[in-house]
Symmetry: D3
Subunit: 284 residues, 6 copies
């Protein structure tokens, strides 16, 4: 980039009012999709996370990893089927879910942050009793429904200068692990922390009024608006659970929730630290 | 068990002087072998760890997982060969090592401790830059040699009331993960913490004067003794690196190092909190 | 005792769930009777107190000392008489009460705990304004009624790792000392601390349905039960003030109050850290 | 007193530079003699102690009580004899020493401070292992020689806003109590705290050049001076141990040690907070 | 002064109960008038402030400086006129106000306290956003009305052992400085701190029932009394805003407000630390 | 500026490694010259200071104000003359120096930072005994030589989230104020804090090899280099004291000292947070 250092300095100081808004506050980023597989995008996300931490934001990264799980199940010739969009998770499948999420994806993110000079700690919901769940439905096997988030481990790590990176796995009272939806995990964690903001990175630009028209982005939405748009059918299909997850977070105390397109480099910083609104923002 | 409660109470109070010796001190337990695969033994180890924490010991669990790694490599048809007892670890193998150790074994131990009412946090050397390494030898691939232990994450977790459970994986400055020997990892961590004691659980009773005679156990050994016994050939073969690991820990500041037989239920508690010495103790 | 160390270790781990219930909580033990004069029993109580402290219980010992006071009064030829069970306490008598309780009994207990490796601090209600009283009745002389417990000194000592040992003496606003009932002092202190439990050691097994039948022990009693049993005459005579003292503590916020037989070795540990209920437990 | 309030205010402000010298520092006052038996003098000492605490001095009161002990021994018809100025202390005598010092005198001082609005805590060397001793000489019975002062209990109490009042009783490793010289106890405590000053209240004005001439007071003395005066016989007889005690305190780190006449009202304040030097000051 | 040191010590201890009333509490002193120009009186005020700090009072000094401002305006030939008792403050005038108050008077007070051994920090309402204001009235220029007191800077300085000295200047959200009445500033600061007491030093003895009779001082006044006395015309003219300022402070949470005559040496100490009431005290 | 938000985000993340170098460290900025009089430049400096604070730098601003002092002296018809570059400062002059620096310039800077959302506290060396001096030379009047920097007030303010802004005025033990050179004040403060860096803003680009050729800038200089360049006459005239001040700071423990041209907007940020070196850097 050819930007002169004078311009760089000017840009840095222009971020000051935005930084002041978030410094000392919790921001939960749900990370997934292309942004997690494309190395360039991945690096830009990691940089964003590190900058947020450096300017005093209490930033937490939550991730899933559906495609990696599917790939590993295939390699191990374990068949998988879905019911209502939820993976039926028997013991063998759960073992793979745990290995891939908590062993491969999670620790790789921690390693990436470390390579950039950050201090990250990879956790899943088992650690410190972070995500307590119960079985959703016996037929689905190890699919959990969240009962409780124990934020102490997060605060201890954040106070110590560490960035928590969290796999979407929960644990029940008997110590049995469960697969959980990463969007939901992020939303529940953000709610438990009364986060200033949750940012959901996805492969779309946000909620579109006309799903075939990229220019029809709805840039801001209240809880009432969301209800309206669901009734009118504009929010439909797979978009419904994503929007519900965002509005639930707002209802439970998160101030601002964003759905942004993770394929845009530095989407998190653009959304949080500039005057540009990239995606859809949910507020009360 | 039919012990009367009066006897139970008497036994509890008799443990007081032993507890006082360790309360507030670091104890690092290297966990592996049968004690990790037999469910009964596993439970007894987890109970020991929890009791130690409850009476104020700063207890840290370090584990490897060779057999599980081999099993998973086999399932995935990844061939593995060894050089001088070290697994040649290419990228694919390292991914499996990481998944199995940090994803499966590590989180299962955290889950087991949680089921018994403990609060454990599963880490590997990547987290918080805990174990910094460099490549041992290009031919061995991802086999690391430890440069530095960063204990801050351990102290933060212990202060928060969490039990750190650590997989033997390290990270270099570029964020690349490495396989490391679990005995060595435990010894280096114990040394960095100036631990009161390190307990190495193995499948043998300790160092035997005559390896075919269970009754020839050497119950205590100074650094000088160990040197002598190596020269005289009594410590030989696979026992050499294990003993070296113990004596190195002592040299670097650990007060007492024990090799104990993990197949004895509650071996850790018997060794630390009773007047019985089970295995071999190394001291200066 | 011939118990093997394996059994010892097993017993230790079985105490874990009981320990977890009390760790970090306040337990007030009212100490007296034979348990205070028999050297063997005394040692077993001191061991119990030390173990409780070691496993993180905030333990406080409260004691009286009627027989020792009477003996010293006799030696000094000071006559003593009682009204409604209360010792009429003139200036000379009070001086002896203070010397015997705060000088002899109290410091001996602190010394005993010290000999076992504990750090105890002997106090009476004068110290740090711990027990503020007013004169109950002019005719009784230095007999006090408790107005206020100032727990700061207790928390400061407990935080410093010290076990407070407290003589049942109070002080009024003019600095005059008063004799107070030790059961009441313990109950008021437990109430002021919102203790998890108060244990009253006495010479009986607890409340008996038939006072001549040791097997008629009432092992648990609610506030309503106690009221009922008093009406029906089952709780009668000298048992009434003892039971009132226990029920008052429960009313004022102590979760569980026990009357146990101090002649049973390790009665406190058996009651608190095993599945056996020795005496009578009072709860809401 | 007829002093106008204007003069009072002026006097208060004139104390400022003296107060500044001691605020935040340790001052140990050895209390005894007439100042402890005359009620008027006693009150003036208690007021001095309270004022020192109020202006931020970390003040500690150490006391003996020979005459009270003798009186009680007499009442109990226990005969007492001395060897080289030390009371031969058998078990019965020790019990009386402990009762009188730790039960009567000590708690009365705490009560007096309480009546004036202070918060005092009465301790002896048994409490918190404050004064560890060994037996001086088998023939003397419970006469102890100080090995170690454990100041933690003092700092915990001072930090909590309490004034420690300490009886001159020590404890050995077996929990046996011992009688110790109060001057020595005060000096050892002052030394262990690296006190700014120790004030020894006695019945004399200080060290006199001519013991029959009150005007021959030596107002300041270095360690070398003291050595000289002992050689020349000016310091002689019972004055030798008192002076040795003061010079030892100076040698072990106390900055200034004063022998003052406790019969002068407010002698402590006059010595520490005015420009007048009452007694003899020992410095390096 | 010829007072003997014995009397001095007696006087010091007699101040103890008064000191106890204020130690650890906030006291705000409004300083002005002759007490600020007469060097002798100034020194006595500075001594009073230092003693209060030394005995643990959280003391804060607030000052104005009308005469010095007028003198400097005259030297610079800047004309000044008043409307309803308020100085019309254009930009040039404000610059002089700021220079004289925050540069000259304020720092001189800090220097005086420093010369006496104190540690003072000179502030105005601009520093740390201490006094936030808005413009009272466009015609008056830089005359501000207080919106908010941000006490964090005061607590940080007091915790650090510093005495805050505050010029009566405020700041609006745009960073523009404003002149404010010093009595009002002191009252608002005292209210924000829920001060134990505010002392207003003036050139009169307090509120007089007959303004020409010095002996008609009203020594105590409730809020109701003040209302009554205003209605009856006894409080009239320039006394009205001064009394309103005092009663407002009481209404907003200050426990005791005093108007005292600053021309009496050590008036603050006499009022706060003796049994003499010099001026008029306002309470609820 | 037309920079896209994507570029802005990229630039922000590129600053991360530079920010990491300074976060948690002390940076002292000496501010003066055109940068202090030109409103645009002033704003850019204030923005730089705020950004540094926001990213965790402990930033301190030190300023002089020669031209403003001269202007005010002229308005007040006070004549001023210099000896060896030092203003002869009689009492009247000192009063003006204090008013202009500590009253006008200092508080205006605090107000400017406040308007941008910062929390600044304006101090001079009088406050908290920050800069202790003695008179340099009787003939020069109030010209001080620095003896001691008391950094406690700075750490207290920085810990509280405040930016200290410091006028170059010192105080002697008698409370007399003195004029001091601002470069020297900044250097002494930086040295006392063992600052990571001191930045001296001036009207030149740095040290030039040929003072008439802007392109002859010497971008880095060791202590030895500086000595050499002074000998060879390349550093000469008015540049000598400025360079001495920088090298003294380095000698006394400041890691990096920069002379930069304050007329370049955001010169501080460009120097500290980009890969561009603007001026001359002094290191060991």
């Amino acid at each position: 980039m050819n930007t002169s250092n004078a311009v760089r300095a000017e840009i840095l100081t222009q971020a000051v009012p935005y930084i002041k808004e978030y410094t000392g506050k919790y921001v939960v980023a749900k990370y997934g999709g292309n942004a997690m597989t494309d190395p360039q995008l991945k690096k830009s996300v990691m940089q964003d996370i590190l900058l947020l931490q450096l300017v005093g934001v209490k930033v937490i990264l939550v991730h899933g990893g559906g495609p990696e799980i599917s790939a590993m199940l295939k390699k191990l010739s374990i068949e998988s089927h879905f019911e209502n969009g939820l993976r039926v998770t028997d013991d063998d499948t759960m073992e793979v879910v745990q290995m891939v999420l908590a062993g491969k994806v999670n620790k790789s993110l921690a390693a990436d942050l470390s390579a950039l000079g950050g201090k990250a700690v990879g956790l899943c919901g088992i650690d410190g009793g972070l995500i307590k769940v119960h079985q959703k439905n016996e037929k689905l096997g190890h699919v959990g429904e969240i009962d409780e988030i124990n934020t102490k481990i997060l605060d201890d790590l954040l106070d110590g200068g560490f960035i928590p990176v969290i796999s979407s796995i929960g644990i029940d009272d008997d110590g049995t692990p469960y697969n959980i939806n990463a969007d939901t995990a992020a939303a529940k964690i953000a709610a438990a922390l009364h986060a200033e903001s949750m940012v959901v990175m996805s492969n779309i630009n946000g909620v579109l009024r006309d799903k075939d028209d990229e220019n029809s982005l709805i840039s801001q939405m209240s809880l009432a608006d969301a209800e309206e748009l669901k009734k009118s059918g504009i929010i439909a299909g797979g978009m419904i659970p994503k929007v519900d997850c965002c509005t639930n977070a707002v209802k439970e105390g998160v101030k601002k929730v964003f759905i942004i397109n993770g394929e845009i480099p530095h989407a998190i910083l653009i959304e949080l630290l500039t005057d540009e609104g990239l995606g859809t923002m949910f507020t009360k």
